[in-house]
C-alpha cells in the first residue's frame, strides 16, 4: 500500500532531476558501480585461481593418454594471444573515444574489439574440436578435464563479454554518451582487460609450460 502511494504521488522523475545522488551525502551512483565491479573482478580472480590451482595439481595426471606436448600447437596459441592483446588495445582506444565524447568512433572501436574477440573464440572452438577429434576429450584424463575447464571458463567469459558488448553498442546508439552508458563502457573495458591478463597466465601456464 505504502509502495503504491509514493510511487503515484512522486511527480518528480529521476531523469528530470540532474545528476541523481549528488548533494545527498552519498557518492555518485555510477562511481559506486564501477567500484563494485572492481570487487567483482577480485572474486573472479579467485575462481580462475581455483581453476589454475586445479590445473597445476592435475596436469601430470594424463592417465596414459595424451599430454600437453602431444596436443598443443604453440603457433595457434600465439595467434590467439595476439588477437586478444590487440582487442585489448582497440578497447583502450574505444575508451579514449568515449572520453572525447565521440560516439561513432566509440561504437566503431567497440565493434572491432568484439570482432577480434569473436575470432579468438572461433579459434578456441576450432582447437577444442580438433582435440576432441583426436580422442583428447574431457573424460579422457584428469589433465584434460582441468585443461578444458580452465581454458573453457576463460572462453565463456569472453563470450559473455561479447554479448554484453553488443548490448552496450545498441544502448550507446540509442541513448548516446550519458553518465550511465559511460560507466558501462568503462566497466566492460575493465572486464576485457582483466580477461586479457587472465589469458596471459593461461598462455604461460598451460601452453608455454606445457610444450616445454
Amino acid at each position: 500500500m505504502e509502495g503504491d502511494d509514493f510511487m503515484n504521488s512522486s511527480s518528480l522523475k529521476a531523469e528530470q532531476m540532474h545528476h541523481p545522488g549528488s548533494g545527498h551525502g552519498h557518492p555518485d551512483p555510477e562511481e559506486m558501480r564501477t567500484f563494485g565491479f572492481w570487487i567483482y573482478l577480485m572474486t573472479d580472480i579467485m575462481i580462475f585461481g581455483t581453476f589454475f590451482a586445479t590445473y597445476i595439481v592435475l596436469r601430470h595426471n594424463t592417465d596414459g593418454g595424451p599430454g600437453p606436448a602431444d596436443l598443443f600447437d604453440l603457433n595457434g596459441a600465439i595467434v590467439s594471444t595476439f588477437l586478444l592483446l590487440t582487442s585489448s588495445y582497440t578497447c583502450g582506444i574505444a575508451v579514449l573515444a568515449l572520453n572525447k565524447g565521440k560516439k561513432r568512433a566509440l561504437i566503431g572501436w567497440l565493434a572491432l574489439t568484439a570482432a577480434l574477440g569473436a575470432i579468438f573464440i572461433g579459434l578456441e572452438i576450432n582447437e577444442f574440436c580438433h582435440m576432441v577429434h583426436e580422442g583428447a576429450t574431457m573424460s579422457r584424463s584428469a589433465f584434460l578435464s582441468a585443461f578444458y575447464t580452465l581454458v573453457g571458463t576463460h572462453g565463456l567469459h569472453v563470450t559473455v563479454g561479447l554479448v554484453w558488448m553488443i548490448a552496450l553498442m545498441a544502448q550507446l546508439s540509442a541513448k548516446g554518451i550519458t553518465p550511465v552508458t559511460k560507466r558501462k563502457v568503462n566497466v566492460i573495458s575493465l572486464f576485457w582487460h582483466f580477461l586479457d591478463v587472465v589469458w596471459i597466465f593461461v598462455f604461460t601456464v598451460v601452453y608455454l609450460m606445457g610444450v616445454k
Partner: protein
C-alpha cells in the same frame, strides 16, 4: 501409457517411507492453505507489490529472517530425528540410508540455508540504519541475492520429496559423492541448490562492502563506525574471497558427475583429496563468516546494556580483521589425518592456535565493558551473557582439536561434533537470537514478551549443555560421527539418552520462540514502541522511528564521533526527525521496485532443476530466461524516482504520532 507414468513417478517422487508421505501431505496442505488465504483476503497484489518485488533493504531483511526460521524448523526436525534414532542402542527408527540423508540435509540447511540467511537478514535490516544510509549500494542486486538464495534453498529442499536427498555429508566428499557411488539425483540437488544460493551470497558480500565503504553518513569516518558494520565488513571480505572457491569447486564436482570429467574420481588420474582441500578453503572461512557478525552484535548489545562505551574498540576492530585474514590459513586442520606430513600439520596447527588470540581479546573486551557498567538484563543481554561461557568452552575444545597429534584421536569423533555445535550454536545462533531480540522493536515497531523470551532462553541454554556436554565424553569413549546405531555392549547409551533429552529441550525452546512471536503479533498494539529508542541505544538506528520509514532518514545525520546518538543524547543535542525544519528537507532519491529479481531466480531454479534431471529441454529455456532477464535489466533505464518533500513530512508526522504531541 499409464504404466509409463507410474514408472516415471516411482523414480521421480521419493516413495516407500511413511515419514516422507506424511511430509508430502503436509507440504500440499500448507501450500493450499497459503494460496487459499492469499486469495480469500485478496492479498496477491499486495504481496507482489510490497514484498516480492521490493528492493527495500528492510523488507528483504525480514524475508531473509523469515526464510531462516522456516529452515531452522526443517533442520531442527532433522536433528530431532537423528537424536531419536540414537537415543537407544540398536534402535531402528530410521533406516541407515535415510539416516545418511538426514545428517547431510541437517548440516547443509543449518549452515547454508539457516545461518547464512539469518545473517544476511540482520545485515540488511541494520547496516544501512547504523551507518546512516538510505539503502544498500545496489538495491536491485540485493533483491536478486535474496531471490537466488530462496531459489537455491527451495531446490535443495525439494530433493526431500522429489528424486531423493543427498547423502554424502554436508560437504559432499568424493569419491562417495561421485556418480560411480552415488548415481541418484540427490548430489545434483546439493550442487545446484548451493550453487544458486552461493551466487546470491557472493553478490551480497560485494554489496555490503561497497555499502559500508561508500555510503556512510557524512562525518562517519571508519573508526567512528559502530562495531556491527565493522563485523559485517570483515565477514564480507571473507565472503568475496572464499565463496568463489566454493562456486569453482562445486562446478568441478558437477563436471565430474555430468560431463564424465576426472577431477576427484578414483580413476582417470583424479584426486579426491584435491576436493577436500578446496572445499575447506571455503569451508573454514565460512564458519568465521557466520560468527564474525555475531561478535559485532554482542559488542553492540554489551555496550548498550552496560551503559558504557565498548572497552577496546580499536582492538576489537583489529581482532576482527585479523580473524578474517587468518581464517584463510587454517583449512588443513580439518584433515590433519590426510598424511601431509609433520611440517604441514605443524603450520596449520599453529595458525589455528593463533586465532585463539584475537578471539580471546574480544572476550576480555566484552567482560571489561560489563565491568562496573550499569547492567540491565533484558533478553538480548541474556543471550550475550549466555554466549560468553559457552563460547569459551567451545573455543578451548577447538584449541584441543588443533593439536595435530591429538587430533588423530579426536578426528571425526563426537568430540568434534560437540565442539563445532558449541561454537556454532553458542556463538552464531545465540548471537543472531541476541541480535533479533535487540533489533526486533526497530524492525517491527513492537516489543516481544520478555517473560516468554526468558523461558526460551533458559530452555535453549540448558538444553544445549544437556545435549552436547555428553557428546564430548562420547567422543572420547570412541563414538564416531555419522554412525546410525550402536550396540548395547559399547556402554554409550546413557550419555546418548541424556543428549537426546537436551535436544528435546532445545526443540521446546524453539516452540517458546514461535509462541513469543505469535503472542507479540497478537498484542502488538499494546506493545508498540513509540520512542524509536526502546533500549536507550547508542547508534544511529535508534534516532529514527520504529519501524523505520522506507527512506530511513528524513535528513541524513551528521556524525561527529563514535556512538554519536548516545553522545548527542548526553549533551541534549539529539533531535528526532519529527522536529526537522521543513526547509532542511529535500526530495529523496530512491530505487524503484523491480520484478526482474524474482523472475530471474525462478529461471535459475528451472535451469537447476533441468541440470539435476539431465533435462536439457528445461535447462536451456531456464538459462535463456536468465540471460533475457539480465539484458532486460541492462536496457531498463527508468530505475529510480524521488520522494517529494510533502510526502516525507506526512510520513514523519504519521510515524511519530503518539510520541510527540
Amino acid at each position: 501409457m499409464l504404466h509409463q507414468i507410474k514408472d516415471f513417478a516411482s523414480g521421480f517422487f521419493v516413495t516407500g517411507d511413511p515419514l516422507i508421505y506424511g511430509a508430502d501431505a503436509s507440504i500440499v496442505l500448507v501450500a493450499a492453505a497459503i494460496v487459499f488465504t492469499l486469495t480469500y483476503f485478496k492479498k496477491w497484489r499486495w504481496l507482489w507489490r510490497e514484498w516480492l518485488t521490493s528492493v527495500d533493504h528492510k523488507k528483504i531483511g525480514i524475508m531473509y529472517i523469515l526464510a531462516a526460521f522456516l529452515m531452522m524448523f526443517r533442520g531442527g526436525v532433522d536433528a530431532l530425528l537423528m537424536r531419536a534414532q540414537l537415543a537407544m542402542p540398536d534402535y531402528q527408527l530410521l533406516k541407515p540410508d535415510h539416516y545418511n540423508e538426514i545428517f547431510t540435509t541437517h548440516g547443509v540447511i543449518m549452515i547454508l540455508f539457516m545461518a547464512m540467511p539469518f545473517m544476511f537478514g540482520l545485515f540488511n535490516v541494520i547496516v544501512p540504519l547504523q551507518i546512516g544510509a538510505r539503502d544498500v549500494a545496489y538495491p536491485f542486486l540485493n533483491a536478486l541475492s535474496f531471490w537466488l538464495f530462496f531459489a537455491g534453498a527451495m531446490l535443495f529442499n525439494l530433493s526431500f520429496v522429489i528424486g531423493g536427498s543427498p547423502d554424502a555429508g554436508w560437504l559432499a566428499y568424493p569419491p562417495y559423492s561421485e556418480l560411480m557411488y552415488n548415481p541418484g539425483v540427490g548430489q545434483d540437488f546439493y550442487i545446484w541448490g548451493i550453487q544458486i544460493s552461493g551466487i546470491g551470497s557472493l553478490m551480497t558480500g560485494i554489496n555490503f562492502i561497497v555499502t559500508i565503504l561508500k555510503m556512510r553518513a557524512p562525518g562517519m569516518k571508519l573508526m567512528k563506525m559502530p562495531l556491527f558494520p565493522w563485523s559485517v565488513l570483515s565477514s564480507c571480505i571473507a565472503i568475496i574471497f572464499s565463496f568463489p572457491i566454493l562456486t569453482a569447486t562445486l562446478a568441478l564436482l558437477f563436471l565430474d558427475r555430468y560431463a564424465d570429467a576426472h577431477f576427484f574420481t578414483l580413476d582417470g588420474g583424479g584426486n579426491p583429496m584435491m576436493y577436500i582441500n578446496l572445499i575447506w578453503m571455503w569451508g573454514h572461512p565460512e564458519v568465521y563468516i557466520i560468527v564474525l557478525p555475531a561478535f559485532g552484535i554482542f559488542s553492540e548489545i554489551v555496550s548498550t546494556f552496560s551503559r558504557k562505551k565498548l572497552f577496546g574498540y580499536h582492538s576489537m576492530v583489529y581482532a576482527m580483521m585479523i580473524i578474517s585474514v587468518l581464517s584463510f590459513l587454517v583449512w588443513a586442520h580439518h584433515f590433519f589425518t590426510m598424511g601431509s606430513g609433520a611440517d604441514v600439520n605443524a603450520f596449520f596447527a599453529l595458525s589455528t592456535m593463533l586465532i585463539a588470540i584475537p578471539t580471546g581479546v574480544k572476550v576480555f573486551n566484552w567482560l571489561f565493558t560489563m565491568f562496573r557498567g550499569r547492567i540491565t538484563v533484558k533478553t538480548p543481554m541474556l543471550w550475550t551473557i549466555g554466549f560468553i561461557p559457552c563460547f569459551i568452552v567451545g573455543g578451548l575444545t577447538g584449541v584441543l582439536l588443533s593439536v595435530a597429534p591429538a587430533d588423530f584421536q579426536f578426528h571425526n569423533s563426537y568430540f568434534l561434533i560437540a565442539h563445532f555445535h558449541q561454537v556454532i550454536i553458542g556463538g552464531v545462533v545465540f548471537g543472531y537470537f541476541a541480535g533479533l531480540y535487540y533489533w526486533w522493536p526497530k524492525m517491527f515497531g513492537f516489543h516481544l514478551s520478555e517473560r516468554i523470551g526468558k523461558w526460551a532462553f533458559w530452555f535453549w541454554n540448558i538444553g544445549f549443555y544437556v545435549c552436547f556436554m555428553p557428546q564430548y565424553v562420547l567422543g572420547l569413549m570412541g563414538m564416531t560421527r555419522r554412525v546410525v546405531s550402536y550396540s548395547w555392549d559399547k556402554g554409550w547409551w546413557p550419555l546418548n539418552f541424556v543428549s537426546t533429552i537436551g535436544a528435546v529441550l532445545m526443540g521446546i525452546a524453539f516452540l517458546f520462540q514461535a509462541w513469543q512471536i505469535f503472542n507479540g503479533i497478537k498484542h502488538f498494539r499494546a506493545r508498540r514502541d513509540t520512542t524509536g529508542d526502546p533500549w536507550n541505544g547508542r547508534t544511529l538506528e535508534w534516532s529514527i522511528p520504529s519501524p523505520a520509514p522506507h527512506y530511513n532518514f528524513a535528513v541524513l545525520p551528521e556524525v561527529g564521533m563514535l556512538d554519536d546518538w548516545w553522545e548527542k543524547k548526553q549533551r541534549g543535542e539529539h533531535q528526532r526527525s519529527a522536529f526537522i525544519a521543513e526547509e532542511k528537507l529535500e526530495p529523496i532519491h530512491m530505487p524503484k521496485n523491480s520484478g526482474i529479481p524474482i523472475v530471474m531466480a525462478g529461471c535459475w531454479f528451472l535451469a537447476g532443476f533441468g541440470f539435476v534431471f539431465h533435462w536439457l529441454w528445461l535447462t536451456i529455456p531456464g538459462l535463456a530466461g536468465v540471460a533475457f532477464c539480465m539484458l532486460a535489466h541492462s536496457f531498463h533505464y527508468d530505475t529510480d524516482y524521488y520522494i517529494p518533500v510533502q510526502e516525507i513530512k506526512e510520513t514523519e508526522a504519521a510515524l511519530w504520532k503518539g510520541t510527540i504531541s
